[in-house]
């Protein structure tokens, strides 16, 4: 069986940053997975944009537990996909970008996030574009030095 789940690129912040960009993403995989492990200067929902598209072409639905309640909320016609959450405690967000290179469907993005001391959550976003994803920007917070962003590719047989 063909082995897969390859690291495409990794960025470890040497100083705080408000965004990280992965560009020139090859179209040779089936799915992308972005793992973000780190902290930010405040509690923030994290945002993702594709191919430089800053238009209101995204929507998302969230589900999260606060420790005392389960909550669901959503946004339509917004300028970013929701892709996890960070705070001053070490937190992890794992985002699945499904069939990112296909040019037939809109893009579906799934995230599970553990924003420690804050919430645990799952969320889904749609980017209303049939373009293949070739770049992404991860933002929405001021990420602290030491935060690690790793992009993987998975290829189906």
């Amino acid at each position: 069986m063909p082995a897969t789940y390859e690291p495409i690129a990794t960025t470890t912040l040497g100083s705080s940053a408000s965004s990280v960009t992965f560009s020139s993403i090859p179209g040779t995989y089936t799915d992308l997975i972005l793992v973000v492990n780190g902290t930010s200067t405040a509690t923030n929902g994290n945002e993702m944009q594709f191919n430089g598209d800053t238009g209101n072409n995204y929507s998302f639905t969230l589900l999260y537990g606060t420790g005392s309640a389960a909550v669901s909320s959503r946004n339509s016609n917004i300028s970013f996909a929701y892709a996890g959450r960070t705070n001053t405690n070490q937190s992890v967000s794992i985002t699945q970008i499904m069939n990112y290179a296909n040019t037939t469907t809109y893009k579906t993005v799934l995230t599970r996030a553990s924003s420690n001391g804050d919430i645990v959550m799952g969320n889904v976003s749609t980017w209303r574009s049939t373009s293949a994803i070739t770049s992404l920007v991860y933002a929405g917070a001021t990420f602290n030095s030491g935060t690690v962003f790793t992009l993987y590719g998975i290829k189906a047989a």
Partner: protein, 200 residues
């Protein structure tokens, strides 16, 4: 949102590390099914080798039904077993409220509460996504545990769910059928991929 750091997949930027080869990875592609024109009632992966520790199914899919507000569960059947051997729990976010559910002695396992339909308009291009983990699928000493994360957002509404399924059989899983919970099936371009994860 100007980037402060930038990385390139070809390894041409600072602060970036690339490993091109997949050799040694424990994650392998086993089989893929892409639905063609006309759709299919279900997708089945059969003759699954028992050489892995866990399985993962990754899919985008849409339910072949033309009513926008009707959505379908994603159902799993292992080894063609439709006896009352499945139980499940769901945690569902509707965007405005949260639902929970469970059932036991079921003929199939629900691993995602909803997938979108092909109701027209924007729905034509919206496919739901799901990632399903099947743990210790070849262990003949355990009932099988499955967990799923899935959902869709079609701008006017969305669903996100976390699910678990128990198949109360100790048989090694050798086939998996994936279907909606009606006979309407999956539409063209729905895509299902099965992966195996090795242990040391």
């Amino acid at each position: 949102m100007s980037p402060l750091l930038q990385t390139f997949a070809n390894g041409s930027a600072l602060g970036y590390r690339s490993r091109g080869a997949a050799a040694g990875t424990a994650f392998e592609s086993i089989a893929t099914a892409t639905v063609g024109s006309g759709g299919v009632a279900s997708v089945t992966f059969s003759s699954i080798p028992s050489t892995y520790k866990h399985l993962q199914i990754r899919a985008i899919a849409k339910y072949n039904y033309t009513v926008a507000l009707d959505f379908s569960n994603v159902m799993l059947v292992f080894n063609s077993d439709t006896s009352s051997s499945y139980s499940y729990h769901t945690l569902l976010g509707r965007g405005t409220s949260v639902d929970v559910g469970s059932a036991s002695s079921q003929s199939k396992g629900v691993v995602q509460t909803f997938m979108p339909t092909n109701a027209g308009g924007d729905d034509n291009n919206v496919y739901g996504g799901t990632v399903i983990d099947i743990l210790d699928y070849a262990d003949t000493n355990k009932y099988k545990t499955v967990r799923g994360l899935g959902g869709y957002d079609r701008n006017s509404s969305g669903r996100i769910s976390l699910n678990s399924v128990s198949w109360q059989k100790t048989d090694a899983i050798t086939s998996i059928q994936i279907s909606p919970d009606t006979t309407d099936g999956w539409v063209q371009y729905s895509h299902f991929a099965l992966y195996g994860i090795k242990s040391a």
